[in-house]
């Protein structure tokens, strides 16, 4: 299995769509359409398009452009710890209307 510079097996990567439920747990709302900005390289893209590695009990979310870690989620004993230090910003579009 090939490995990228980040060390994780490349074939195991999914994207932000896969953590939609986790993001609702943590942020209280749908966040895959939220705009993320990498604090390292400045790249901006929807959370759905970020690189996601799932390594129980943790989930690591990386910038697709530079590979820097943007978010880390760790679940232990019913508590989810969140580290978003790698993000410069996370924002929802003003015109988001997901309610029907």
């Amino acid at each position: 299995m090939s490995r990228g510079t980040t060390g994780e097996a490349l074939m195991d990567a999914v994207d932000g769509n896969a953590i939609g439920g986790l993001l609702i747990d943590v942020f209280g709302t749908e966040m895959t359409v939220a705009s993320s900005t990498c604090d390292t390289c400045g790249a901006t893209r929807p959370v759905a398009e970020l690189v996601v590695y799932r390594r129980a009990p943790g989930t690591v979310v990386r910038c697709r452009t530079c590979g820097s870690v943007l978010m880390v989620f760790v679940k232990a004993q019913g508590v989810t710890c969140v580290d978003v230090a790698g993000l410069a910003s996370l924002g929802m579009p003003d015109d988001l209307t997901l309610n029907r």
Binding site: A9, A13, G20, T32, E49, R100
Partner: protein, 244 residues
Amino acid sequence: METTAVRRRLTWQAAAVTSIARETASVVTIELEPPDWPGHLAGQHLDVRLTAEDGYTAERSYSIASAPGEPLAVTVERLENGEVSPYLTDELQAGDQLELRGPIGGYFVWEPTDDSPLMLIAGGSGVVPLHSMLRHRLRTGSDVPARLLYSSRTLPDVIYRSELGHYGDGVQVICTLTRSQPPGWTGYSGRVNAAMLAQTAWPAGQHPLAFVCGPTSFVEAVAENLIGLGYPPEWIKTERFGGT
């Protein structure tokens, strides 16, 4: 019906399994009746949770196969060494209960209010959310031109095979078989590549909206090729299922 398909609190609920239909040797479609389902958008998924006797839990996400308004159904592919999928494809029975929560997702969704020509590209079980989109398009009477380019290993691996010809007017379904083709096969052969996309994708000049779903390597190769064909990244929505 006014529903808050996304903003309501996401809670686990026990859904009755009403039927299980075999699509292929390793794929089933499970129809579910959750007690409190708010409806969903085409392309969304739900999470399933299995709990072992010792309390160990395993959660997985599955794309919703049904269109909004149809009985809720998910299509599941059995993964070799999977923790959850083999139970769902081989042991679960109608009458059982399944713990689920959803619907989840706001990025990889299609609504008929978008009138861009639809370019749907599926690798294997990546066809599931795209099937929901095409069913939704049909049920809402949408006339946006739509193309589905669907890659499978062999003909017996094609999911929804009997339904692919029934998405209604304005939908073209193009299949490619990557490992072996039956005698007389008139579809494409081999993996989706730049040449195949150049022949089958809507030209960028038509302002299409592309949804690409399947294994991670498939999605990334296809997205790269679409960009090579002049699609701006904002016109390409991707959903990666992980390694095959």
